[in-house]
Symmetry: C2
Subunit: 437 residues, 2 copies
């Protein structure tokens, strides 16, 4: 694969965006199917390239979790191919009419979804992320810049070549996908305000935070996942303990695992002793504030730093609070606006919690681990966003599109609607189907 500089590639990608925006659904779906086929047909060479990466990673002593994510062979390749085929079955997110209004006779306004343009994804280790992101970008009509980690360079190069070629053969314009490889490329990317419309970083908290703080290009994602559970005074202890166990231990190293437990003073003496037993059975270390340690004097002390820490480990910090407002205040101060849950039997308390906690996902009597695009039934997950604009929480394909206003007239002039004896607007809602679309 020839590799033009990222700046040059991005500029020519921008020029391709009109073509990508008007691709027929059948062409995009055909390309996705062709990409899946290319993965299967080249499974052997992909496994070999990946083996090279694994061997080189072994030499430099890559950490074990990264090694696991780096491996992309056999079933994982088949899984990636099936992921592309699942995208074929989803409806095209482009060209949907969001609103339709007659402004005046013969003057019709349609708000219609369209691609963002050029999206860039930065990820580490996992070569399957490259395949997934290429598929998501294609289905949504976007050109895509993919920046993988150097530890996966052999895998990524081959995969990018295969995706690009299969797409072009199926009718996509050349250059719809670009693989960026160097660290310098990341810096360049953050400056490409004229040609890149969205950056999706996946990686460590520090890395995502670095991206967010160093570009004016919109970023979709989340740095931290510091999630809370608040057990209200009216909670059912038999419901609370399994929810806490599931939220903490079902998969400990993920953004939607719980890190801090807040407990109403009235229920603390009843909840804490059985909770300790349940958590100790799963090797979870508890850290409590002074009031928690009145009931559990042998556990570690929780300090200010604990409230700010996403452990991603078998550790849970616990704080006793006096009321709902204190719980909400703590979460809005220390939380990461990702996912927070309340356990209570009182509906109005739950409603107030869900209304006032400023997080993307607010749950009542359910595990924080449900915050996920697959479990939500989104069909495909672009990422989980903790931003306050555009898309929030688990984001599906709709996060990769925006809309434009199309106005259909017959020579209409604004002058006729002002001055003396002006015409007036009808502003009549039209059906979303039919009409011009």
């Amino acid at each position: 694969m020839s590799t033009p500089s990222l700046r040059v590639a991005a500029r020519s990608m921008k020029a391709l965006t009109p073509t990508l925006a008007s691709l027929k659904t059948s062409v995009k779906d055909g390309a996705l199917a062709a990409m899946a086929q290319a993965l299967r047909q080249n499974a052997q060479s992909i496994a070999e390239a990946n083996q090279k990466d694994l061997e080189e990673a072994e030499v430099v002593g890559l950490e074990k979790p990264l090694m696991i994510r780096l491996k992309f062979q056999g079933e994982k390749i088949e899984g990636a191919a099936q992921g592309l085929e699942a995208l074929v079955r989803l409806p095209d997110p482009v060209g949907r009419t969001l609103s339709a209004r007659e402004l005046d006779q013969g003057l019709e306004l349609y708000q219609v979804t369209c691609p963002l343009g050029v999206v860039a994804m930065i990820f580490e280790s996992r070569p399957d992320a490259l395949v997934q992101m290429a598929g998501l970008a294609l289905k949504s009509g976007n050109a895509v810049i993919l920046k993988g980690g150097s530890e996966a360079k052999h895998s990524n190069r081959l995969l990018a070549d295969l995706m690009l070629a299969a797409g072009v053969k199926a009718g996509l314009p050349k250059g719809w996908l670009h693989l960026a490889e160097t660290r310098e490329d990341v810096k360049t990317l953050l400056e490409l305000t004229d040609s890149v419309d969205l950056i999706i970083p996946r990686g460590s908290n520090e890395f995502v935070q670095y991206i967010m703080k160093n570009t004016t290009i919109p970023v979709l994602g989340h740095a931290d996942g510091l999630c809370h559970i608040y057990v209200d005074g009216n909670a059912d202890v038999d419901k609370a303990i399994p929810i806490i166990v599931d939220s903490k231990t079902q998969y400990v190293a993920v953004c939607n695992a719980v890190e801090t437990l807040l407990i109403h003073r009235d229920i603390a003496p009843f909840l804490l002793p059985p909770l300790r037993m349940a958590m100790e059975a799963r090797a979870v270390v508890l850290r409590g504030d002074a009031e928690t340690r009145k009931y559990l004097p042998t556990i570690e002390e929780a300090v200010e730093e604990d409230w700010e820490t996403e452990y991603l480990d078998l550790i849970l910090s616990i704080k006793v609070v006096g009321n709902l407002d204190e719980a909400i205040g703590h979460i809005n101060t220390y939380g990461s606006k990702h996912t927070d849950a309340i356990v209570t039997e009182n509906r109005s308390t739950a409603e107030r919690f869900m209304s006032e906690v400023d997080s993307a996902n607010v749950f009542w009597n359910a595990s924080t681990r449900f915050a996920d695009g697959f479990r939500y039934g989104l069909g495909a997950e672009v990422g989980v966003s903790t931003a306050k604009i555009h898309a929030r929480g688990p984001v599906g394909l709709e996060g990769l599109v925006i809309y434009k206003y199309k106005l259909y007239g017959k020579g209409h002039l604004v002058a006729h609607y002002s001055g003396s004896d002006p015409k007036s607007f009808t502003h009549r809602e039209l059906p979303l189907t039919g009409g011009h679309h």
Copy 2:
């Protein structure tokens, strides 16, 4: 009015956002009505404060157009009051259910709109913008920081005091509105990434561009409005000329006025002579490329800089192009992604133009001047955005809200949906009304 530092005010505003998010519609509408009443009751003192601003502006020699926009007396005050009352009649943008899905029996997911949190508006001269923005923020449940120009300081101080007090009396929390006054405040504002969720700048292109380039806080707005009309070879000349005249001259100093005209080679000899007559009758200066000047040899020459210039004046640059692709290419290169129109009798040409021109508003046989929230029937206009995410084109109240996912369970655990013999999700769509909302 006591004036805490902007940083302190913004932090305490953030703490108010849960309360603002759960305000009842009736409380917000009551506050809007009270604000309108306060304007009417204090019309005299407002006019006096505004007179002081006008006199001081006279002394320092403020430019005429700014003087006109600075004036806020009599009918303009009544107009602002009516604007607030119009907001009362609009539906509450908060608490709308966007999607509802059963994930499994007893486990229901609702995607519900909620306020952004804290929005900041920076404007110059026009005191009515302060009133309008305070109303928009309130209706959408946001706290608001307003930074006006120093030329309107007497008007702004009084208006901010009135809005704040009327709101608090009607049940809003103290500190829901903050007036920022100094230039230093603008710099501070751009750094308040933890407490400000959206910045809406209104002012000169340079000023808006400065804001966009110097903050990682999302910005809603547009710097330039460099709009185009493309007259296709299949255009009706009798439709084209009035559309061009209206787009250029109906109101010349606005973002949706046309600046550059692109003409298909085949129609240039028929369009240009009558166009010149129509434009000269309205004192519009034409600047053409070499091919245009073959037909109109006496007009000024258009140079590269013309394609990049938003004149906001009675000047129109003209370029002859060979085909639709050339027109689209020119617009996507030099345009500002605001509003661009095609004049043609050929529907498929129009559809391709509207699909491939990467602008917020794309029009067929209609004046570019229609790109406006009032004409679109949005009810209220927050601003016109040329961004590619969140909200694009004329933006109504929906640009000041986002959504959160509320999940209602009965003790549901993720562990039950994995491992051996996992439960499966039902992912059944629920009606948007009823259920938990």
